[in-house]
Symmetry: C2
Subunit: 90 residues, 2 copies
């Protein structure tokens, strides 16, 4: 498989992985409840994905960089939503 | 940076990303509640990470393969736990 096809495959993989957070964000937005989500999950994932981003940068893999950048944003939105909804209940 | 260092860096990134699911699994196990988790999140992530696994296989990146294999397992455990706890409540 050529480099371009591999990169394209990575982009699809990255797009799907990034989409994984979207239903969770929607569910949280709909129910205004994210109590069962551990803060550590999006936090640790964001740290790991930042390292993946650097890995992608070092190995010139745009797919890995793009996917992780998007997912890192989703993680931060999840953390902010959880914080907001827990504050609203007080 | 050499290929070995890059692979090692990827392994660390992969290890941390994989660890992200552990606190969520522990929290679920402790509270016996995963209601706020969307089923679609671990499901879509598992599909995406299976593609990443194949990407890792095609680009000979053991780090990407190992990290995604572990995370896929975590996703399935999360789905099974959520199902089990929701059935227990009925």
């Amino acid at each position: 498989m050529g480099d371009l096809s591999l990169e394209l495959f990575g982009l699809i993989a990255g797009a799907i992985t990034s989409l994984g957070f979207i239903p969770q964000l929607f569910r949280g937005f709909r129910t205004k409840k994210l109590d069962d989500i551990s803060y550590f999950m999006p936090m640790v994932l964001a740290v790991g994905m930042t390292l993946w981003f650097i890995y992608g940068y070092m190995s010139n893999a745009i797919a890995i960089m793009a996917a992780n950048a998007f997912s890192i944003c989703c993680c931060f939105i999840l953390i902010l939503m959880k914080k907001k909804y827990s504050l609203l209940k007080k």
